[in-house]
Symmetry: C2
Subunit: 302 residues, 2 copies
Protein backbone atom coordinates (compact mmCIF):
# COMPACT_ATOMS: atom_id res chain seq x y z
CA UNK A 1 0.00 0.00 0.00
CA UNK A 2 1.26 3.42 -0.95
CA UNK A 3 -0.49 5.19 1.89
CA UNK A 4 -1.57 8.83 1.76
CA UNK A 5 -0.05 9.73 -1.61
CA UNK A 6 -2.52 10.14 -4.49
CA UNK A 7 -1.62 7.56 -7.12
CA UNK A 8 -2.62 6.74 -10.67
CA UNK A 9 -2.46 3.43 -12.49
CA UNK A 10 -1.18 3.39 -16.06
CA UNK A 11 -1.50 0.38 -18.40
CA UNK A 12 0.28 0.11 -21.73
CA UNK A 13 -1.00 -2.40 -24.29
CA UNK A 14 2.04 -3.55 -26.24
CA UNK A 15 2.63 -6.15 -28.90
CA UNK A 16 4.50 -8.40 -26.46
CA UNK A 17 2.92 -7.60 -23.13
CA UNK A 18 0.57 -5.56 -21.01
CA UNK A 19 2.60 -3.39 -18.64
CA UNK A 20 1.40 -1.33 -15.73
CA UNK A 21 2.89 1.23 -13.34
CA UNK A 22 1.38 2.73 -10.23
CA UNK A 23 2.76 6.28 -10.00
CA UNK A 24 2.23 9.57 -8.22
CA UNK A 25 2.09 12.99 -9.80
CA UNK A 26 5.87 13.34 -9.79
CA UNK A 27 6.26 10.17 -11.85
CA UNK A 28 7.60 8.08 -8.96
CA UNK A 29 6.80 4.41 -9.60
CA UNK A 30 5.41 2.52 -6.58
CA UNK A 31 4.66 -0.82 -8.20
CA UNK A 32 4.87 -2.41 -11.66
CA UNK A 33 3.37 -5.47 -13.30
CA UNK A 34 3.60 -7.27 -16.64
CA UNK A 35 1.31 -9.80 -18.36
CA UNK A 36 2.54 -11.33 -21.63
CA UNK A 37 0.17 -11.03 -24.57
CA UNK A 38 -0.52 -13.68 -27.22
CA UNK A 39 -0.72 -12.49 -30.83
CA UNK A 40 -3.97 -14.30 -31.65
CA UNK A 41 -5.87 -13.33 -28.50
CA UNK A 42 -9.61 -12.84 -29.00
CA UNK A 43 -11.47 -9.94 -27.40
CA UNK A 44 -12.37 -12.02 -24.34
CA UNK A 45 -8.88 -13.47 -23.91
CA UNK A 46 -7.47 -9.97 -24.11
CA UNK A 47 -9.94 -8.69 -21.52
CA UNK A 48 -8.97 -11.59 -19.23
CA UNK A 49 -5.38 -10.36 -19.51
CA UNK A 50 -6.55 -6.90 -18.46
CA UNK A 51 -8.35 -8.42 -15.47
CA UNK A 52 -5.20 -10.29 -14.51
CA UNK A 53 -2.97 -7.20 -14.52
CA UNK A 54 -5.51 -5.19 -12.52
CA UNK A 55 -5.60 -7.96 -9.87
CA UNK A 56 -1.94 -7.28 -9.16
CA UNK A 57 -2.94 -3.83 -7.87
CA UNK A 58 -6.04 -4.95 -5.97
CA UNK A 59 -4.64 -3.85 -2.62
CA UNK A 60 -3.80 -0.36 -3.88
CA UNK A 61 -6.14 2.63 -3.74
CA UNK A 62 -5.35 4.47 -6.98
CA UNK A 63 -7.54 7.37 -8.07
CA UNK A 64 -7.65 6.69 -11.82
CA UNK A 65 -6.75 4.11 -14.45
CA UNK A 66 -5.26 5.22 -17.78
CA UNK A 67 -4.82 2.88 -20.73
CA UNK A 68 -2.56 3.43 -23.73
CA UNK A 69 -3.16 1.35 -26.83
CA UNK A 70 -1.97 1.31 -30.42
CA UNK A 71 -4.14 2.25 -33.32
CA UNK A 72 -7.59 3.61 -33.91
CA UNK A 73 -9.93 3.77 -30.96
CA UNK A 74 -13.47 4.95 -30.36
CA UNK A 75 -13.12 7.44 -27.54
CA UNK A 76 -16.81 7.83 -26.87
CA UNK A 77 -17.37 4.11 -26.36
CA UNK A 78 -13.92 3.30 -24.99
CA UNK A 79 -13.31 0.59 -27.59
CA UNK A 80 -10.15 -0.53 -29.37
CA UNK A 81 -11.41 -0.67 -32.96
CA UNK A 82 -8.51 -2.84 -34.12
CA UNK A 83 -4.84 -3.47 -33.40
CA UNK A 84 -1.89 -4.19 -35.69
CA UNK A 85 -0.25 -6.43 -33.07
CA UNK A 86 -3.30 -8.22 -31.65
CA UNK A 87 -4.95 -8.93 -34.96
CA UNK A 88 -8.08 -10.64 -33.64
CA UNK A 89 -9.19 -7.67 -31.56
CA UNK A 90 -12.32 -6.22 -33.09
CA UNK A 91 -14.28 -3.41 -31.47
CA UNK A 92 -12.93 -4.51 -28.11
CA UNK A 93 -14.70 -2.81 -25.14
CA UNK A 94 -11.62 -2.26 -22.99
CA UNK A 95 -12.83 0.77 -21.05
CA UNK A 96 -16.29 -0.66 -20.20
CA UNK A 97 -14.50 -3.84 -19.06
CA UNK A 98 -12.12 -1.99 -16.72
CA UNK A 99 -14.96 0.21 -15.52
CA UNK A 100 -16.84 -2.94 -14.51
CA UNK A 101 -13.88 -3.85 -12.28
CA UNK A 102 -13.19 -0.50 -10.61
CA UNK A 103 -15.11 2.51 -9.39
CA UNK A 104 -12.39 5.07 -10.24
CA UNK A 105 -12.43 6.99 -13.54
CA UNK A 106 -10.93 5.11 -16.51
CA UNK A 107 -9.23 6.97 -19.36
CA UNK A 108 -7.72 5.74 -22.53
CA UNK A 109 -5.87 6.99 -25.52
CA UNK A 110 -3.55 5.75 -28.23
CA UNK A 111 0.03 4.95 -27.31
CA UNK A 112 1.57 7.89 -29.18
CA UNK A 113 -0.67 10.26 -27.26
CA UNK A 114 0.31 8.60 -23.98
CA UNK A 115 3.99 8.85 -24.91
CA UNK A 116 3.41 12.56 -25.60
CA UNK A 117 1.78 13.15 -22.26
CA UNK A 118 4.60 11.24 -20.56
CA UNK A 119 7.20 13.47 -22.22
CA UNK A 120 5.17 16.53 -21.29
CA UNK A 121 5.00 15.67 -17.60
CA UNK A 122 8.21 13.75 -17.02
CA UNK A 123 10.50 13.99 -20.05
CA UNK A 124 11.90 16.27 -22.73
CA UNK A 125 8.58 18.07 -23.20
CA UNK A 126 8.44 19.73 -19.79
CA UNK A 127 7.36 23.35 -20.02
CA UNK A 128 6.36 23.23 -23.69
CA UNK A 129 3.19 25.06 -24.69
CA UNK A 130 2.72 23.19 -27.94
CA UNK A 131 4.56 19.90 -27.82
CA UNK A 132 4.61 17.42 -30.69
CA UNK A 133 6.00 13.96 -29.96
CA UNK A 134 6.86 11.44 -32.68
CA UNK A 135 7.14 7.79 -31.67
CA UNK A 136 9.59 6.17 -34.07
CA UNK A 137 9.12 2.43 -33.63
CA UNK A 138 7.38 -0.38 -35.48
CA UNK A 139 5.09 2.33 -36.83
CA UNK A 140 5.23 6.11 -36.71
CA UNK A 141 2.91 7.72 -34.17
CA UNK A 142 2.38 11.39 -33.46
CA UNK A 143 0.87 13.10 -30.45
CA UNK A 144 0.30 16.74 -29.60
CA UNK A 145 0.02 18.31 -26.16
CA UNK A 146 -1.51 21.75 -26.58
CA UNK A 147 -1.25 23.99 -23.51
CA UNK A 148 -0.98 20.96 -21.25
CA UNK A 149 -3.81 18.98 -22.83
CA UNK A 150 -3.73 16.21 -25.38
CA UNK A 151 -5.31 17.22 -28.67
CA UNK A 152 -7.78 14.53 -29.63
CA UNK A 153 -9.87 16.12 -32.36
CA UNK A 154 -13.43 15.38 -33.28
CA UNK A 155 -14.32 11.92 -31.91
CA UNK A 156 -10.82 11.60 -30.55
CA UNK A 157 -8.66 10.44 -33.42
CA UNK A 158 -6.82 13.72 -33.73
CA UNK A 159 -3.33 12.70 -34.58
CA UNK A 160 -2.67 9.94 -37.05
CA UNK A 161 -0.04 12.10 -38.65
CA UNK A 162 2.28 9.16 -39.36
CA UNK A 163 -0.15 8.66 -42.20
CA UNK A 164 0.45 12.02 -43.80
CA UNK A 165 1.26 11.67 -47.48
CA UNK A 166 4.76 12.96 -48.16
CA UNK A 167 5.59 11.05 -51.35
CA UNK A 168 2.53 11.18 -53.60
CA UNK A 169 2.00 7.73 -55.15
CA UNK A 170 4.99 6.44 -53.19
CA UNK A 171 5.50 3.20 -51.26
CA UNK A 172 2.47 1.24 -50.12
CA UNK A 173 1.75 1.83 -46.42
CA UNK A 174 0.19 -0.66 -44.01
CA UNK A 175 -2.88 1.59 -43.94
CA UNK A 176 -3.59 0.97 -47.64
CA UNK A 177 -2.62 4.44 -48.82
CA UNK A 178 0.66 5.27 -50.56
CA UNK A 179 3.54 7.51 -49.65
CA UNK A 180 2.72 7.96 -45.94
CA UNK A 181 5.63 8.98 -43.72
CA UNK A 182 5.22 5.68 -41.82
CA UNK A 183 5.95 3.76 -45.02
CA UNK A 184 9.50 5.19 -44.86
CA UNK A 185 10.54 6.20 -41.33
CA UNK A 186 9.47 3.32 -39.09
CA UNK A 187 10.86 -0.18 -38.58
CA UNK A 188 8.28 -1.53 -41.04
CA UNK A 189 9.09 1.24 -43.49
CA UNK A 190 12.88 0.98 -43.32
CA UNK A 191 12.89 -2.82 -43.62
CA UNK A 192 10.27 -2.74 -46.38
CA UNK A 193 12.11 -0.16 -48.47
CA UNK A 194 15.40 -2.02 -47.91
CA UNK A 195 13.77 -5.24 -49.09
CA UNK A 196 12.59 -3.49 -52.27
CA UNK A 197 16.16 -2.43 -53.05
CA UNK A 198 17.91 -5.70 -52.18
CA UNK A 199 15.40 -8.55 -51.90
CA UNK A 200 16.81 -9.17 -48.42
CA UNK A 201 14.60 -9.61 -45.37
CA UNK A 202 15.95 -8.06 -42.19
CA UNK A 203 14.28 -8.96 -38.93
CA UNK A 204 14.76 -5.82 -36.89
CA UNK A 205 15.84 -2.20 -36.91
CA UNK A 206 19.16 -2.91 -35.18
CA UNK A 207 20.31 -5.09 -38.10
CA UNK A 208 19.33 -2.32 -40.49
CA UNK A 209 21.23 0.36 -38.60
CA UNK A 210 24.25 -1.96 -38.28
CA UNK A 211 24.27 -2.14 -42.09
CA UNK A 212 24.13 1.66 -42.26
CA UNK A 213 27.12 1.86 -39.89
CA UNK A 214 29.03 -0.60 -42.10
CA UNK A 215 28.31 1.74 -45.09
CA UNK A 216 26.08 -0.76 -46.89
CA UNK A 217 24.96 1.40 -49.83
CA UNK A 218 21.29 0.32 -50.11
CA UNK A 219 20.86 0.71 -46.34
CA UNK A 220 22.49 4.17 -46.37
CA UNK A 221 20.28 5.25 -49.30
CA UNK A 222 17.16 3.89 -47.62
CA UNK A 223 17.91 5.82 -44.42
CA UNK A 224 18.77 8.99 -46.35
CA UNK A 225 15.48 8.98 -48.23
CA UNK A 226 13.53 8.08 -45.10
CA UNK A 227 15.20 10.97 -43.25
CA UNK A 228 14.14 13.33 -46.02
CA UNK A 229 10.57 12.05 -45.68
CA UNK A 230 10.64 12.48 -41.89
CA UNK A 231 12.01 16.02 -42.25
CA UNK A 232 9.11 16.91 -44.54
CA UNK A 233 6.62 15.36 -42.11
CA UNK A 234 8.11 17.67 -39.46
CA UNK A 235 7.83 20.55 -41.93
CA UNK A 236 4.16 19.73 -42.48
CA UNK A 237 3.48 19.55 -38.76
CA UNK A 238 5.38 22.78 -38.18
CA UNK A 239 3.37 24.48 -40.94
CA UNK A 240 0.08 23.20 -39.50
CA UNK A 241 0.55 23.30 -35.72
CA UNK A 242 3.43 25.73 -35.19
CA UNK A 243 4.75 23.94 -32.06
CA UNK A 244 7.48 25.29 -29.79
CA UNK A 245 9.00 21.84 -29.29
CA UNK A 246 9.24 18.50 -31.09
CA UNK A 247 10.48 15.42 -29.25
CA UNK A 248 11.45 12.16 -30.93
CA UNK A 249 11.02 8.95 -28.90
CA UNK A 250 10.90 5.24 -29.60
CA UNK A 251 13.33 2.47 -30.54
CA UNK A 252 14.61 4.10 -33.73
CA UNK A 253 15.98 7.04 -31.74
CA UNK A 254 18.70 4.72 -30.37
CA UNK A 255 20.39 5.31 -33.72
CA UNK A 256 19.59 9.00 -34.03
CA UNK A 257 23.30 9.80 -34.37
CA UNK A 258 22.90 8.42 -37.90
CA UNK A 259 20.19 10.86 -39.01
CA UNK A 260 19.44 13.66 -36.51
CA UNK A 261 21.79 16.32 -37.91
CA UNK A 262 20.57 15.74 -41.45
CA UNK A 263 16.95 15.76 -40.26
CA UNK A 264 17.39 19.19 -38.67
CA UNK A 265 19.23 20.51 -41.71
CA UNK A 266 16.49 19.50 -44.17
CA UNK A 267 13.78 20.87 -41.87
CA UNK A 268 15.51 24.24 -41.64
CA UNK A 269 16.02 24.37 -45.39
CA UNK A 270 12.31 23.78 -46.08
CA UNK A 271 10.23 25.32 -43.29
CA UNK A 272 9.42 29.00 -42.90
CA UNK A 273 12.09 30.57 -40.64
CA UNK A 274 9.36 32.21 -38.54
CA UNK A 275 8.08 28.70 -37.75
CA UNK A 276 11.32 26.95 -36.83
CA UNK A 277 13.48 29.67 -35.34
CA UNK A 278 11.83 29.29 -31.93
CA UNK A 279 11.46 25.52 -32.24
CA UNK A 280 13.42 23.00 -30.15
CA UNK A 281 13.87 19.56 -31.69
CA UNK A 282 15.07 16.92 -29.24
CA UNK A 283 15.47 13.20 -28.76
CA UNK A 284 14.20 11.71 -25.51
CA UNK A 285 15.44 8.54 -23.92
CA UNK A 286 12.75 8.41 -21.27
CA UNK A 287 10.20 6.15 -22.95
CA UNK A 288 7.32 7.53 -20.95
CA UNK A 289 4.34 5.69 -22.47
CA UNK A 290 3.16 3.93 -19.33
CA UNK A 291 3.74 7.04 -17.22
CA UNK A 292 1.78 9.00 -19.80
CA UNK A 293 -1.09 6.50 -19.65
CA UNK A 294 -1.21 7.01 -15.90
CA UNK A 295 -1.06 10.78 -16.45
CA UNK A 296 -4.30 10.63 -18.45
CA UNK A 297 -5.92 10.71 -15.00
CA UNK A 298 -4.11 13.83 -13.80
CA UNK A 299 -6.81 16.06 -15.20
CA UNK A 300 -9.14 14.95 -12.44
CA UNK A 301 -6.99 16.69 -9.86
CA UNK A 302 -7.40 20.33 -8.89
CA UNK B 1 -24.23 56.59 -37.56
CA UNK B 2 -25.46 53.11 -36.79
CA UNK B 3 -26.92 54.06 -33.41
CA UNK B 4 -27.28 51.65 -30.54
CA UNK B 5 -26.13 48.49 -32.30
CA UNK B 6 -22.64 47.21 -31.36
CA UNK B 7 -20.53 47.23 -34.52
CA UNK B 8 -17.12 45.99 -35.58
CA UNK B 9 -14.90 47.28 -38.36
CA UNK B 10 -13.13 44.76 -40.61
CA UNK B 11 -10.35 45.66 -43.03
CA UNK B 12 -9.02 43.30 -45.68
CA UNK B 13 -5.61 43.99 -47.22
CA UNK B 14 -5.81 42.72 -50.79
CA UNK B 15 -3.46 42.84 -53.74
CA UNK B 16 -5.67 45.38 -55.54
CA UNK B 17 -7.29 47.31 -52.71
CA UNK B 18 -7.93 47.81 -49.03
CA UNK B 19 -11.57 47.00 -48.31
CA UNK B 20 -13.54 47.62 -45.15
CA UNK B 21 -16.97 46.71 -43.79
CA UNK B 22 -18.71 47.95 -40.68
CA UNK B 23 -20.85 45.05 -39.44
CA UNK B 24 -22.81 43.88 -36.45
CA UNK B 25 -22.67 40.46 -34.85
CA UNK B 26 -25.18 39.03 -37.33
CA UNK B 27 -22.95 39.97 -40.27
CA UNK B 28 -25.19 42.83 -41.41
CA UNK B 29 -23.10 45.42 -43.29
CA UNK B 30 -23.77 49.06 -42.34
CA UNK B 31 -21.11 50.78 -44.40
CA UNK B 32 -18.28 49.78 -46.76
CA UNK B 33 -15.21 51.52 -48.13
CA UNK B 34 -12.41 50.76 -50.60
CA UNK B 35 -8.97 52.29 -51.13
CA UNK B 36 -6.95 51.07 -54.15
CA UNK B 37 -3.45 49.80 -53.34
CA UNK B 38 -0.32 50.39 -55.41
CA UNK B 39 1.99 47.40 -55.86
CA UNK B 40 5.20 49.25 -54.96
CA UNK B 41 3.88 51.04 -51.86
CA UNK B 42 6.43 51.53 -49.10
CA UNK B 43 5.56 50.95 -45.46
CA UNK B 44 4.62 54.60 -44.94
CA UNK B 45 2.55 54.84 -48.15
CA UNK B 46 0.71 51.70 -47.10
CA UNK B 47 0.03 53.10 -43.62
CA UNK B 48 -1.31 56.30 -45.23
CA UNK B 49 -3.75 54.11 -47.14
CA UNK B 50 -4.84 52.56 -43.85
CA UNK B 51 -5.34 56.03 -42.38
CA UNK B 52 -7.42 57.00 -45.40
CA UNK B 53 -9.79 54.03 -45.13
CA UNK B 54 -10.24 54.57 -41.39
CA UNK B 55 -11.19 58.21 -42.02
CA UNK B 56 -14.22 57.01 -43.95
CA UNK B 57 -15.59 55.58 -40.71
CA UNK B 58 -14.63 58.51 -38.48
CA UNK B 59 -18.25 59.30 -37.59
CA UNK B 60 -18.97 55.69 -36.54
CA UNK B 61 -18.52 54.31 -33.03
CA UNK B 62 -17.30 50.75 -33.66
CA UNK B 63 -16.06 48.65 -30.76
CA UNK B 64 -13.11 46.91 -32.46
CA UNK B 65 -11.01 46.94 -35.62
CA UNK B 66 -9.92 43.66 -37.22
CA UNK B 67 -7.39 43.45 -40.02
CA UNK B 68 -6.86 40.54 -42.40
CA UNK B 69 -3.63 40.37 -44.37
CA UNK B 70 -1.83 37.86 -46.57
CA UNK B 71 1.41 36.29 -45.56
CA UNK B 72 3.45 35.85 -42.42
CA UNK B 73 2.79 38.24 -39.58
CA UNK B 74 4.23 38.84 -36.15
CA UNK B 75 1.24 38.60 -33.85
CA UNK B 76 2.98 39.88 -30.76
CA UNK B 77 4.15 43.09 -32.42
CA UNK B 78 1.25 43.42 -34.87
CA UNK B 79 3.56 43.67 -37.87
CA UNK B 80 3.17 42.43 -41.44
CA UNK B 81 6.55 40.76 -41.95
CA UNK B 82 6.22 40.75 -45.73
CA UNK B 83 3.59 40.50 -48.46
CA UNK B 84 3.58 38.74 -51.84
CA UNK B 85 1.37 41.45 -53.38
CA UNK B 86 2.86 44.55 -51.77
CA UNK B 87 6.48 43.60 -52.23
CA UNK B 88 8.06 46.62 -50.56
CA UNK B 89 6.35 46.07 -47.22
CA UNK B 90 8.96 45.04 -44.67
CA UNK B 91 8.17 44.58 -40.99
CA UNK B 92 5.27 46.98 -41.41
CA UNK B 93 3.76 48.08 -38.04
CA UNK B 94 0.11 48.00 -39.13
CA UNK B 95 -1.46 47.34 -35.71
CA UNK B 96 0.57 49.97 -33.82
CA UNK B 97 -0.35 52.43 -36.57
CA UNK B 98 -4.09 51.74 -36.31
CA UNK B 99 -3.85 51.75 -32.53
CA UNK B 100 -2.40 55.27 -32.71
CA UNK B 101 -5.56 56.37 -34.56
CA UNK B 102 -8.23 54.69 -32.43
CA UNK B 103 -8.82 53.81 -28.80
CA UNK B 104 -10.74 50.56 -29.50
CA UNK B 105 -8.97 47.17 -29.52
CA UNK B 106 -7.23 46.30 -32.79
CA UNK B 107 -6.86 42.66 -33.94
CA UNK B 108 -5.20 41.17 -36.91
CA UNK B 109 -4.61 37.88 -38.55
CA UNK B 110 -3.77 36.41 -41.94
CA UNK B 111 -6.45 36.43 -44.62
CA UNK B 112 -7.00 32.67 -44.62
CA UNK B 113 -7.70 32.79 -40.89
CA UNK B 114 -10.12 35.68 -41.41
CA UNK B 115 -11.87 33.77 -44.20
CA UNK B 116 -12.15 30.83 -41.80
CA UNK B 117 -13.68 32.92 -39.07
CA UNK B 118 -16.07 34.46 -41.62
CA UNK B 119 -17.23 31.00 -42.70
CA UNK B 120 -17.57 29.96 -39.08
CA UNK B 121 -19.83 32.88 -38.13
CA UNK B 122 -21.66 33.62 -41.36
CA UNK B 123 -21.04 30.89 -43.94
CA UNK B 124 -20.75 27.16 -44.53
CA UNK B 125 -18.86 26.60 -41.27
CA UNK B 126 -21.72 27.51 -38.92
CA UNK B 127 -22.02 25.06 -36.04
CA UNK B 128 -18.75 23.24 -36.74
CA UNK B 129 -16.62 22.29 -33.74
CA UNK B 130 -13.44 21.84 -35.73
CA UNK B 131 -13.62 23.73 -38.98
CA UNK B 132 -10.86 23.80 -41.56
CA UNK B 133 -11.15 26.33 -44.37
CA UNK B 134 -8.98 26.26 -47.49
CA UNK B 135 -8.72 29.44 -49.54
CA UNK B 136 -8.06 28.40 -53.13
CA UNK B 137 -6.91 31.56 -54.91
CA UNK B 138 -3.60 33.03 -56.05
CA UNK B 139 -2.06 30.94 -53.29
CA UNK B 140 -3.43 28.22 -51.03
CA UNK B 141 -4.26 29.31 -47.50
CA UNK B 142 -5.58 27.22 -44.63
CA UNK B 143 -7.30 28.27 -41.43
CA UNK B 144 -8.67 26.29 -38.52
CA UNK B 145 -11.44 27.33 -36.13
CA UNK B 146 -11.25 25.04 -33.10
CA UNK B 147 -14.29 25.17 -30.81
CA UNK B 148 -15.11 28.67 -32.02
CA UNK B 149 -11.60 30.06 -31.80
CA UNK B 150 -8.95 30.53 -34.45
CA UNK B 151 -5.95 28.29 -33.92
CA UNK B 152 -2.86 30.46 -34.14
CA UNK B 153 -0.11 28.30 -32.70
CA UNK B 154 3.01 29.39 -30.94
CA UNK B 155 3.70 33.04 -31.89
CA UNK B 156 0.64 32.99 -34.09
CA UNK B 157 1.68 31.42 -37.37
CA UNK B 158 -0.28 28.26 -36.80
CA UNK B 159 -1.59 27.38 -40.21
CA UNK B 160 0.62 27.69 -43.23
CA UNK B 161 -0.59 24.33 -44.37
CA UNK B 162 -0.65 25.31 -48.04
CA UNK B 163 3.07 24.72 -47.66
CA UNK B 164 2.75 21.10 -46.62
CA UNK B 165 4.96 18.87 -48.76
CA UNK B 166 2.81 16.41 -50.70
CA UNK B 167 5.16 15.62 -53.59
CA UNK B 168 8.65 15.12 -52.16
CA UNK B 169 11.17 16.86 -54.45
CA UNK B 170 8.28 18.04 -56.64
CA UNK B 171 7.61 21.42 -58.26
CA UNK B 172 9.35 24.51 -56.89
CA UNK B 173 7.01 26.54 -54.68
CA UNK B 174 7.05 30.30 -54.20
CA UNK B 175 8.23 29.68 -50.63
CA UNK B 176 11.49 28.13 -51.85
CA UNK B 177 10.63 24.55 -50.87
CA UNK B 178 9.55 21.86 -53.34
CA UNK B 179 6.35 19.87 -53.67
CA UNK B 180 4.12 22.05 -51.48
CA UNK B 181 0.38 21.75 -52.12
CA UNK B 182 0.33 25.42 -53.14
CA UNK B 183 2.75 24.66 -55.98
CA UNK B 184 -0.06 22.61 -57.56
CA UNK B 185 -3.53 23.68 -56.42
CA UNK B 186 -3.54 27.48 -56.59
CA UNK B 187 -3.68 29.90 -59.51
CA UNK B 188 0.10 30.22 -59.37
CA UNK B 189 0.47 26.45 -59.17
CA UNK B 190 -1.96 25.54 -61.95
CA UNK B 191 -0.55 28.13 -64.36
CA UNK B 192 3.03 27.24 -63.45
CA UNK B 193 2.54 23.50 -63.96
CA UNK B 194 0.64 24.15 -67.20
CA UNK B 195 3.53 26.31 -68.42
CA UNK B 196 5.98 23.49 -67.69
CA UNK B 197 3.95 21.11 -69.84
CA UNK B 198 3.25 23.46 -72.75
CA UNK B 199 5.54 26.50 -72.61
CA UNK B 200 2.38 28.62 -72.71
CA UNK B 201 1.75 31.49 -70.32
CA UNK B 202 -1.84 31.86 -69.20
CA UNK B 203 -2.81 35.04 -67.38
CA UNK B 204 -5.54 33.82 -65.07
CA UNK B 205 -7.36 30.83 -63.66
CA UNK B 206 -10.45 31.34 -65.82
CA UNK B 207 -8.44 30.81 -69.01
CA UNK B 208 -7.00 27.64 -67.48
CA UNK B 209 -10.38 26.22 -66.53
CA UNK B 210 -11.78 27.17 -69.97
CA UNK B 211 -9.04 24.98 -71.47
CA UNK B 212 -10.04 22.14 -69.12
CA UNK B 213 -13.66 22.49 -70.27
CA UNK B 214 -12.52 22.34 -73.89
CA UNK B 215 -10.69 19.05 -73.06
CA UNK B 216 -7.22 20.49 -73.66
CA UNK B 217 -5.12 17.48 -72.60
CA UNK B 218 -2.25 19.25 -70.76
CA UNK B 219 -4.78 21.39 -68.86
CA UNK B 220 -6.87 18.32 -67.92
CA UNK B 221 -3.76 16.45 -66.77
CA UNK B 222 -2.54 19.46 -64.79
CA UNK B 223 -5.88 19.75 -63.00
CA UNK B 224 -6.07 16.00 -62.37
CA UNK B 225 -2.65 15.90 -60.74
CA UNK B 226 -3.36 19.07 -58.76
CA UNK B 227 -6.62 17.56 -57.52
CA UNK B 228 -4.74 14.49 -56.35
CA UNK B 229 -2.32 16.76 -54.46
CA UNK B 230 -5.19 18.71 -52.89
CA UNK B 231 -6.91 15.48 -51.84
CA UNK B 232 -3.74 14.35 -50.08
CA UNK B 233 -3.40 17.73 -48.37
CA UNK B 234 -6.93 17.19 -47.08
CA UNK B 235 -5.93 13.68 -46.01
CA UNK B 236 -2.94 15.10 -44.12
CA UNK B 237 -5.10 17.70 -42.39
CA UNK B 238 -7.72 15.08 -41.56
CA UNK B 239 -5.03 12.80 -40.11
CA UNK B 240 -3.58 15.65 -38.04
CA UNK B 241 -6.57 17.72 -36.93
CA UNK B 242 -9.54 15.36 -37.33
CA UNK B 243 -12.02 18.16 -38.20
CA UNK B 244 -15.78 17.69 -38.51
CA UNK B 245 -16.00 20.04 -41.49
CA UNK B 246 -13.83 21.31 -44.33
CA UNK B 247 -14.95 24.29 -46.40
CA UNK B 248 -13.34 25.35 -49.68
CA UNK B 249 -13.50 29.04 -50.58
CA UNK B 250 -11.78 31.39 -53.02
CA UNK B 251 -11.75 32.06 -56.74
CA UNK B 252 -10.81 28.53 -57.82
CA UNK B 253 -14.01 27.17 -56.28
CA UNK B 254 -15.98 28.82 -59.12
CA UNK B 255 -14.86 25.84 -61.19
CA UNK B 256 -15.31 23.20 -58.48
CA UNK B 257 -17.67 21.25 -60.76
CA UNK B 258 -14.47 20.24 -62.57
CA UNK B 259 -12.76 18.65 -59.57
CA UNK B 260 -14.93 18.36 -56.45
CA UNK B 261 -16.26 14.81 -57.01
CA UNK B 262 -12.80 13.47 -57.78
CA UNK B 263 -11.36 15.31 -54.78
CA UNK B 264 -13.84 13.64 -52.44
CA UNK B 265 -13.26 10.25 -54.05
CA UNK B 266 -9.48 10.37 -53.60
CA UNK B 267 -9.82 11.61 -50.02
CA UNK B 268 -12.13 8.74 -49.12
CA UNK B 269 -9.84 6.21 -50.75
CA UNK B 270 -6.83 7.38 -48.74
CA UNK B 271 -7.97 8.62 -45.33
CA UNK B 272 -8.90 6.41 -42.38
CA UNK B 273 -12.66 5.80 -42.50
CA UNK B 274 -12.97 6.74 -38.82
CA UNK B 275 -11.61 10.17 -39.75
CA UNK B 276 -13.72 10.99 -42.78
CA UNK B 277 -17.02 9.23 -42.13
CA UNK B 278 -18.27 12.10 -39.94
CA UNK B 279 -16.64 14.79 -42.08
CA UNK B 280 -18.55 17.28 -44.22
CA UNK B 281 -16.67 18.71 -47.19
CA UNK B 282 -18.32 21.76 -48.73
CA UNK B 283 -17.76 24.64 -51.10
CA UNK B 284 -18.80 28.09 -49.94
CA UNK B 285 -19.69 30.98 -52.18
CA UNK B 286 -19.83 33.52 -49.36
CA UNK B 287 -16.32 35.00 -49.54
CA UNK B 288 -16.34 36.09 -45.93
CA UNK B 289 -12.81 37.44 -45.48
CA UNK B 290 -13.74 41.02 -44.57
CA UNK B 291 -16.58 39.83 -42.33
CA UNK B 292 -14.12 37.45 -40.67
CA UNK B 293 -11.63 40.27 -40.12
CA UNK B 294 -14.38 42.21 -38.34
CA UNK B 295 -15.28 39.06 -36.38
CA UNK B 296 -11.76 38.98 -34.89
CA UNK B 297 -13.20 41.50 -32.43
CA UNK B 298 -16.18 39.38 -31.41
CA UNK B 299 -14.21 37.74 -28.64
CA UNK B 300 -14.34 40.94 -26.66
CA UNK B 301 -18.08 40.54 -26.21
CA UNK B 302 -19.68 38.56 -23.40
Amino acid sequence: MVGQVTTHLGIDIGGMSLKAHLIDRTGKIYRSATVPTVADWSNSEFLNGITEILKQFSDESYTSVGVGTPGPVDFEKGFILRSANLKNLDNCPVVPHIQSLTSVPVYFNNDANCASLGEYYFGAGKGSEDLIVLTLGTGLGVGWVHKGKLYNGHLGNGMEAGHQTIVLNGALCGCGSRGCAEAYFSTRGLLGRYREKTGKDLTNAKDFFDLVRSKDVPAVETLEFATEVLAHLLKNLVHSINPDRIVLVGGLTNSSDLYLDRLKHILKENAFPVLWEHLRLEVSSVGAGILGAAALGFKEEV
